[in-house]
Symmetry: D4
Subunit: 227 residues, 8 copies
């Protein structure tokens, strides 16, 4: 059997083999107890677990059972590793446009680290003051994959992508109001970017961008192995 | 009477007094004959007329009556002045993001010139290659009002606005596809810009931006007169 | 270095030189502490600061550190000036359509004053009773730039713009319900106005309109200086 | 049987009794032959028929069978009456905002006349030049029901409604571009009007507004009869 | 002067003369104090006032000043009349589709009564059980104007309109979920009705429908007077 | 192998076994040649084929190869059966709201017949004249599954569903304009119906409704077999 | 009389005869007292009642009157049967994509059981780990009608439908964020499915899907009776 | 100078250095002559050029000047290489859901090959017949980066991503109708996927996905070089 059946949930314990990483728990619509039960199975089977969008309230319930797990408050995540992850080659760079994009950027950072990536960050370098961004040009060009987190008009990924030969994953955030439409405008703007070489994930999905970045770097490992 | 009644149209011949410029003809939904009739009244009363969104087909009909009028094919406009306009002070700069934004940029340019502005242009300097834009920094900073024309993700106004202390009018264009939604994404992105000091007009409305720019410079004239 | 690095924020301290005014703080998604830290840097460097969308709750935290700052409750803003601003030439007129548009109008007013503008206001003169508006015609025509704040069908800017030769910035508000769609209809209606000479900012963005108005008047100062 | 069954169509021949007017044919998606067949039944049963949205192409086919019918090219309508309609009391006034709203206004006019209304019109008096409208104030106040046809920001119904104690039916048109969204913005703006006493019909639905206006005036006849 | 200036509000005291009814207060975005101040002016000038969308919280504040005013809790309205209204001729019928449409129906009823209409109601006769509606056919045909209040798919106005020769005003409500989109689908469905003779007001705008119905009956009074 | 590989297409030849019917060809975006090639494989393997949304132009190309296939012009479909279908038990009733819904209704009818259903139809009985519908009540109640095809406000399925104990599949059509939004309003209205017992397919998807209806009746056959 | 008139509600007591089941109460916008009153009439007349979307708060009020009713907390429903339901033939299978879809799945399950269906469930077998689904293939193929509950991209119904010859009703849920748009994307995705044989109900409408499924199985009973 | 100025276009000739590939020409809104002029500069400077969305009509004009360029009709692209590209390591796999997705898949394939990738394809393996996809499992797992092209409900990327540990770029296509909304539903569905490890590009943007895939494999080359 490839999964463990908890009734309301079927925990996929074959995922580690297929993906190289265990199933991830999306906590937003789950009860604290459902999250706890799934974490328990994963921790036991994989010695490693990650849950996203877990409110502090839910964490307080879970902590009683698993005090050894780690809670990341800005990122609203729980992580667990019983031994250090295998390190992935290369370097992920996370760039954010504004101070308000901090929580989403942190979600990306916690995810990438948990998956074994080397992570660097450049925060609050949005396009309204382009000189801030340009002052980091060398650091930007050293990365092997770049995640750009931005809200409002979502212009930063286009500008960064134009400066490098690195693949770039754009994360729209819900920072903004009115014409921003809860981040829908930001997301659509990124998708209709005039720059080549970038792709986009869902609004506020810092996790998703980092997960894909890690798969990229993991693939690098696979490719080297093949040789 | 402040207007001349043509039945289907009432031509506002008091507009020159109120606005400093005669009524403008929006030609898109009007027949060639309706446009011709209104142009006739305006030319007679004001010695000056402007019609936007006039297809070449319609122009061919109108030209037979008014060969002395001028047709601008890229901009899809008719202009007429029986004597040179009064010159307005200052300088309008029109910046466009891409080659495809050319017709809208030209609509802005023809309008601004017809209204008496000194106009300069920098075309095809979109954010995907930011160095093109930055190489014009001095020219950009010399303008008194800037019009930025861009399609796709509409990022250029935010970047330009961050580089200057000049008021900026952003013109979204319908250049793009899919997530661009016929320019709605571009327009919304500009409205939710992280830069301060810019305002936005309708999609492809190069005319509207230039008209407002000219009113601004005209106001400058008024203010000087007052002193 | 053109900015001061606070980790989560990079405060742009070169902005005063470029824009003539320091960086503005958009407070909505920032924590009270983040706002405080940025205010601190700006106050020190520029002797002048402005934060928008700061709730009373956040202000209570900030006030403990900076009792000399001023809080504007209707406008939800913090301002600080250690010495009076340089005065800008000309006159900004703020017109609002209804009583419910008061907070957004106040955001515009506080901003314009902080930037050195002479400001006048005419409130609650919406189009449902056009005679109220018309009774102010002289006052309206004396302004050098007009900001019109309106919710619901957003018709007021079109009417006002038709009465004057002054550039006009339209501010849609989220006042309305149902078909109003949180102000999206208002904003789109203003963008598709039949009047020439107006441009539009984001929903409820009184700040943005006033900021652009001040840049206009500041440009007037620049142009005079050039002569 | 209350209808005549033509297979693809069931013509409701009891409608005259219920509504006071025969069934109306909406021609847009029907073939010329389907329209002809329904017209035939109605003409025979009711001596009176009306078809909307009939292209000139379709009319050419129908005309061969019914040369005595009347085609209204601007309004894209066919009408037929074998004897003059009963006249309805009162007066319908149709006001339009711009020259481009002419076809929709004509659809309203043809409909109202066919139903027996006394109709007056004031065309091209949009809000961008409010003095045109105000010069007709007396005529406006004499009407018993007002239809206002407008595109773009759709502001005219709000202004007119504020000037009178007459019920008003607003007809949004698809005149405009970009943010206008094919008239959706116009329609939504009218629905979220700040004026009391107006209701709205579908985009470009001049017919529907006139039909309701005639029902109003017909009701007046009924009420008088009752006394 | 046609209005009384309260600073944030300009109360239009000429409205009674123009509209036959005083200005109406839309209470949703106004503070309790603003509402109180406007009510005070209107009560004094017109001896009659109406405020919509006043929460019970705000009413508690206002009641302390004006205990003689009447609060309608389901309808969320305040009414005041120092002497009985002039009665209008004819009969308004309010039909609602479901129990959940009760508050909006009541808003219409309170408004119509305050304006002097004779009002009857038929509640909870939606199209899912068409026999309920049909059992009231006589009562429905006796009305001179019909208001139909419905949520969800908004089908009831089309069905009712097909049964009568009476003008009908459709009020979409926000009752429903998912595809209902907060009543937008209901409103759009009513606007694209296959029935002739109906027009539509904003979502949940029971007030607007009743106000227009009263204007219609009032016009009947005017027309009789004219004779 | 469960499919035949044509390069650009992989024809699923196991479908008959799984679904009881061969794969269906959706012709809209395919070239005439691609359609022909797939039809060829299916006709050979299954002796039975169906293609939807095939324009007359494409049919002309295909007919040259397969003159024995049948083209249905209103329905824009190609069908082929080398021997008569097995008959399914029960009766499918197709009801349409208006004459303009004819092509979509025919698509449903052709599909259902090709799948072996007994089909009856009642066309043009929309809610604007409810008596037409009610005159067919007995026929409606005899059906075992009902397909209701309607455009505009999409009210007919709610009314029909309230009259019967039969499952009902609603097919929204793109008949309408303006607020109809190409059938999106119709579809959303049907999805938010106040009636129980109906489900919805895509806009103009007469095929999809009939296919599901046939699966229902086929299941009946399966259930009887099981006994 | 076919209904009992409670003033704000008219309870349809003829529904059992028409539909085979009594009227269902949609509790979301009704007060606890309104729900109680309708339940009372139905319980008395039909000995059977069902209310959906009843919060625990409302249930606490109702329980005091009808302690013998049953409350289903996850499903937010009240059910009552004074004697066991007649059993329907066949088997309904409810499949859900994720743990978060549990409440909607339960709404479907409670409904189907109350209507007399035999129900089986397979929960949390979404497409991200397709092997979980495939391990249940036999069980899936044994069902006579399948309900698939899924949020996010809503892909599960397409996959399941491709595996069976069973009619399938898809229930989109509001599980997801950002581009999910509260389930609108899920619902639209299901409606534009590439699989044949599925239809869709409103977002989170587990009740509606189960109700239609039961009507189908009930029809089976009718058809057998007919023989 | 980093670009060559053609007036309406500024060709970025530094792009090869930054991106490793020359600027790409987006041909949709450009005239045949503009495309020709830019191609000329790029061919000269870089010996390599790519233009997307070039209609056959435009190609006929360009071919006269550059017969040595290659036109790809399905993909609507022009490519040129004066010498074979440097080969990139690894393997790109392009999977498409349906025959109708062929042109977009070809755009991806031509791009990837022009950039030096080894490309394999699996076409027409959509989720309606999941066994087709599963029969290619080995081939799918051998790829180093996967591009999945799908229209309609866009489910295929979620399913594929769940089967592999490879990063996946999803390309929504505009194949579908009605609820599909020109591919917007497909794109949103992919963005709200329940699978981890995928990101999304604009509708029909096969080029963009392939470009990013090549950047990734190029990065692999860079990383190896670094060692």
């Amino acid at each position: 059997m490839v999964f463990e059946d908890l009734g309301e949930s079927k925990v996929d314990i074959s995922r580690s083999k297929i993906k190289g990483f265990p199933e991830i728990i999306y906590g937003e619509y789950k009860t604290a107890e459902q999250i706890k039960n799934i974490l328990e199975v994963l921790a036991e089977h994989d010695g490693k677990a990650l849950a996203t969008r877990v409110s502090y309230e839910k964490w307080k319930y879970i902590k009683k059972y698993f005090p050894q797990f780690q809670y990341h408050e800005s990122a609203q995540m729980i992580t667990f590793e019983d031994k250090p992850s295998n390190k992935l080659p290369g370097k992920v760079l996370i760039i954010s446009a504004g101070t308000s994009d901090f929580p989403v950027s942190e979600e990306a950072k916690v995810t990438a680290k948990w998956m074994g990536c080397k992570v660097e960050t450049i925060y609050d370098v949005g396009v309204a003051g382009i000189s801030r961004l340009l002052s980091y040009l060398n650091k930007i060009r050293e990365a092997n994959i770049i995640i750009v987190v931005a809200g409002m008009e979502g212009a930063l990924p286009s500008v960064v992508s134009g400066l490098v030969n690195t693949p770039l994953i754009a994360v729209p955030t819900s920072v903004g109001y009115g014409a921003n439409q809860g981040g829908m405008t930001t997301m659509h703007a990124m998708l209709t970017s005039c720059s080549s070489g970038l792709s986009v994930v869902n609004i506020d999905n810092g996790f998703g961008a980092a997960y894909q970045a890690a798969l990229f770097l993991n693939q690098f490992k696979e490719m080297t192995k093949d040789e």
